[in-house]
Symmetry: C2
Subunit: 674 residues, 2 copies
């Protein structure tokens, strides 16, 4: 007997329930794995419970129908409620941690989010201990709010090009911060337009007429009582965006604004009263902060994509389309179409690999952070490499994956009520901010170029780069995947990804050698740029596979044997999807032969059939609450119609029988006689 899902009646659709009943593994173990451990998951549940205690805090579909002004107002009300109810827990005792409370309990973008992330971290990482002691408690209690004012209208990733100046006035022991041109306007920083009363302004330091590099300065921007901009400050909001419309990205111009000498962030460098610069720390420590945000982006890629997949996959097991079942007039579930599984199966595989890889990245970052404080910099190169590469690779996968989820829902994926449009649009900046993805792959490639140079001197690559020590050996492997069995062999898949990367590495290095008479700029940006980016991309995805396999095969890491089996299958599927996307190198290297494509596709089909029954239990292991991303088609009841109709009926344009302008402009025409 078919049961229709209904939120109103608290009834779960029988189609969705049947999928849940298929679960043959320890779902809670997977839940813990996905959230980064049992302890972290308990913290997450705690946040969710705190949110659920007050109706006003919970996400609502009304959000989708709000203007930007209304979204700001609503977000501020929710933030204020959090502050009133949970001041000690989430503010006073705030520590940056990988799962922030607002990422699992706040619909839209949290106001002051930048205050609590980049602003806080910059003070901590770039400010002296005294500055930290002074400012951090104020930030935690919102007695000081701020933004990270680096990007300018004319200058993005190229920090050396920043035009804002900070001129040292020896007499008054002050810095004069100035925006000399239109292109020097600070542009884009979040929390800048409205929410901040301070900005960490990155500016070209000038002492005695000489440029002394770009540094960060703490600049008060508003009167704390009236919230009016201080003299010399022009600040405003930059306007509507693709997504992120509840965030107050801003512009800021500073006209000869004076700040005390003590407001220069001085963990790394300090200017004394005579205008002499003292290097106190290694400027490389600055990288740590940039890396942190990238690591966050990697961490959230799997979570955000999973939110989209949760919606789309639930819809796909309840929604039916075309009567293409044998011996039944019933329509077929979307997920019963092979083409649909070919969309969602690989996404689930990427989610698992991204999730496990990010966890590794977080651990490594935490170690790096400690080491940087002890002025140890060895780990910086590899972390820069991995975080840049994964920022680019994962944000691309997640962004495109969310879009795939949205499109796979057909028309309703285009409706804001599905939850998918806001997810996609709000996720979109991840591919751009903290470094455009193309630039990020170029950054990631640097370590490979360095590794090659070192190899010429006989130095061996270490860790996950070790495969590059035997490029020629890898390229000697021929015809390794010609049957389905081979295409399912974890080790052969590992080698295939290694060969693909090694082939591109070798070819790129040969090309660079061939054009070595050209300048470095020409080689890297004009002649071999696509080769370098392609090489970095393949390499970084191979390293993710290595990290994933190492983690799930580690003794005792996965207790439930069925879960381990599913994860291994997802690892296989990840590798196969990658090989399917980009296999030319493998044919050229001879690792693939004329039946490899068929073998790979058949292996994919095999795995997707095998995984099909467990898709919902695997995806739902995240256990997202419905209010985190309200969806009329992807809620936990499998209610895909009742709620859709109800939300449609309640939508804003239906409040007035005639929209503005209709009566005035159109009715006279429509009702006039010919």
């Amino acid at each position: 007997m078919q049961t229709t899902g209904s939120i109103r009646n608290k009834v779960v659709s029988s189609d969705l329930q049947a999928e849940r009943n298929n679960c043959n593994f320890d779902q809670l173990e997977l839940t813990h794995l996905l959230w980064g451990g049992q302890k972290e998951y308990q913290r997450v549940r705690g946040i969710i419970a705190d949110v659920e205690r007050y109706e006003v805090l919970k996400g609502s579909e009304k959000w989708y129908d709000m203007s930007r002004e209304e979204q700001h107002e609503n977000a501020l009300l929710r933030l204020r409620t959090m502050y009133d109810k949970y001041f000690d827990k989430y503010f006073k005792e705030y520590k940056p941690s990988m799962t922030s409370w607002w990422s699992v309990g706040f619909q839209g973008l949290m106001p002051f989010m930048v205050t609590f992330s980049m602003f806080y971290s910059a003070v901590k990482g770039l400010g002296s201990d005294e500055q930290g002691d002074k400012w951090l408690p104020l930030i935690r209690t919102m007695k000081m709010t701020g933004c990270y004012a680096q990007t300018e209208l004319g200058h993005g990733s190229f920090v050396q090009g920043l035009e804002t100046t900070a001129t040292f006035d020896k007499e008054k022991q002050e810095f004069i911060i100035n925006s000399p041109t239109i292109t020097s306007f600070k542009f884009w920083p979040g929390d800048m337009a409205i929410y901040s009363d301070h900005a960490i302004v990155f500016a070209k330091l000038i002492i005695d007429g000489k440029a002394r590099g770009v540094h960060g300065f703490m600049v008060p921007t508003r009167d704390r009582q009236t919230w009016a901009p201080l003299p010399g400050i022009e600040v405003g909001e930059i306007g509507p965006k693709f997504g992120f419309n509840s965030k107050d990205n801003g512009y800021l111009a500073l006209r000869q604004v004076r700040i005390p000498k003590g407001n220069m962030l001085s963990r790394l460098v300090e200017v004394d009263e005579n205008g002499k610069m003292h290097v106190k720390g290694d400027p490389r420590a600055l990288y740590g902060i940039m890396l942190e945000t990238r690591v966050w982006i990697c961490r959230f890629a799997s979570q955000q994509l999973s939110q989209g997949l949760t919606i789309a996959a639930r819809y796909a097991v309840v929604r039916r389309q075309f009567s293409t079942l044998d011996a039944s007039k019933e329509e077929r579930k979307l997920l019963e179409y092979q083409t649909h599984m070919f969309k969602f199966g690989p996404l689930l595989a990427y989610i698992m690999v991204m999730n496990i890889t990010s966890k590794y990245l977080i651990q490594e970052y935490e170690t790096l952070e400690e080491e940087l404080m002890q002025k140890k910099f060895d780990r910086l190169d590899i972390m820069h490499h991995l975080s840049a590469g994964y920022k680019a690779a994962f944000s691309k996968i997640a962004y495109e994956g969310i879009d795939t989820c949205r499109q796979a829902c057909g028309g309703v994926g285009f409706s804001a009520h599905s939850g998918l449009p806001s997810l996609q649009a709000d996720y979109a900046p991840n591919t751009t901010y903290e470094g455009d993805n193309t630039v990020m792959f170029q950054q990631a490639a640097k370590l490979l170029l360095k590794t090659y140079k070192q190899s010429l001197k006989g130095e061996k690559a270490q860790g996950y780069l070790a495969y590059l020590n035997d490029v020629d050996g890898l390229l000697k492997l021929k015809g390794q995947i010609i049957t389905v069995e081979q295409a399912l062999d974890l080790d052969k898949l590992d080698k295939a990804l290694a060969v693909r990367s090694a082939y591109k590495y070798k070819r790129t290095m040969a090309l660079l050698k061939e054009i070595e008479s050209k300048s470095e700029n020409e080689r890297v940006h004009s002649l071999a740029a696509v080769d370098i980016v392609g090489m970095a991309h393949s390499h970084i995805l191979y390293v993710a596979y290595q990290i994933f396999c190492a983690n799930i095969s580690q003794l005792g890491s996965i207790k439930c044997p069925n879960l381990r089996g599913h994860l291994q299958d997802l690892g296989r599927l990840y590798a196969l999807s990658e090989l399917k996307n980009d296999s030319a190198s493998l044919y050229e290297a001879g690792y693939f032969e004329s039946t490899s494509g068929t073998a790979i596709q058949n292996a994919q089909k095999h795995l997707l059939s095998k995984l099909r029954p467990y898709m919902i239990p695997l995806i739902e292991a995240w256990n997202f609450p419905d209010h985190l991303l309200p969806s009329a088609i992807g809620n936990s009841y499998g209610d895909i119609y009742e709620t859709q109709l109800e939300w449609a009926r309640n939508s804003k344009l239906n409040k007035n029988p005639m929209p503005k302008g209709f009566k005035e402009y159109m009715l006279p025409i429509l009702t006039a006689k010919l």
Copy 2:
């Protein structure tokens, strides 16, 4: 001397001007080609001139900052102005044509657009001559407005599954239209929620208790004087969407609504007073209407993508990033990065191929339309094949291409003021409506399956499918592209695309044979679905290449030799991009060998370097007016900063120094003592 672009001062940026000065071909000839001929282009200019005559008609950046209500109001005001100023030209004498006035002169979605397209065409194509004579003049003068009410909440592409009923009441000679369930609510039709007073409702006809197929019925939905829904009608708007927010997509329920017998659209079938059905025409004529919308989608794919590329490419020759030039501290133009040309060059190539292919499609469609009226149906199969395939392929290319353009602008591509977010979001439904793209490829595949069956009987495929007559011959070609010269050879590229498609065709047919013991449903939807879709995709892209080459090489078709050269290079680039994306079949077939990948990439590099100087003149040949898609970074002055700052300053959130809620919820916290 560098000149900065400034709209205010009517100064063109010297960087942009320098690009324009590179033009070495007859740009006007290309302009005519792109718009479908000199005459059509003159019509387009006429529309643009008509729009430019009244400030209120011109697009404005304010649009991006409007709520949905405000967008509706603004669109209605513009429509009313058009109606007042140009009633005869654009309304009374309206004829559906490939370039509608609103597609080149209307920012956002035109209200009543569906009235003038699908509603009008359905009356024309499905209504009897008498019905047409009665209704079409009313529609043209807006004395009757309507929508195409097919899709239901529970039923999309599967027309046979529609639940709405139209029961014949013999006694009263009426049809009773009814929505029996929630899932039978009409859902999504544009112009339905607010703008229509009629709906062509597709419903299951029931006569004497027997279902007699799905047919179209003209149902009045509103009182023309008060605009209130008529008794038994529930109608409303479905809520906010990813894009298209100025379109009133609606829902509609009909509760035992009675319409006269004469309101059944009866060109094809008629019910007499005794309830007997009379087939008057071939039901296949119905396809014609569905094809028309698909052909439109194909036609607009190249135009819409070009709008995005115009913005992104102008920005890329004015915006500079990183000082990576030799012997200069100046930063490098984005388009001088190889990675950037690898994004934009292929998009331009796809644009040209899509444009020429669509023109062919339009011509074929026009012929088909005439033939259908004469009850000739031979061309229907191939047109169904091509229009389904190109709808899927081109909408995907254009959608992803616009996204590429948006992302290639970095941060500012995320700002609505770039124009790119609205372009992307409003374009997005093209991949979904009129048939989900996966379903469309499956539809396109049908002719290939039929061709194969016919080939077994010795029948030869004709026209652009003729290459399938010699699959084995094609698959015998070995190692054909191993040098750059070969990779630039138009004929070898043709063969490469043919081999790729032939290989998939052969492999798919072999698979279908292998599983012939399974049911048709299982074979087509489960076991070989991805093979079928992949085959159709490769085939359809190869046919586009054939059409493109046939058209540009036709004697006298392109007069300017340099233009012909550029088009040939773009044809090469199209083929190379395709081969780069998906080449496994070619390695498996042996057409590619171990150096093919390098040859292809080097050929791409060669072509992109060659085309680089002409990118702006080639892209700008469309000659879009700035007001069609207002952009702070892609206007014709190359003004990428001044306008950006001005629009930011004028944006809505800056009207109030403090957003709603801030003073009330936040200020007390922010200013309180600890």
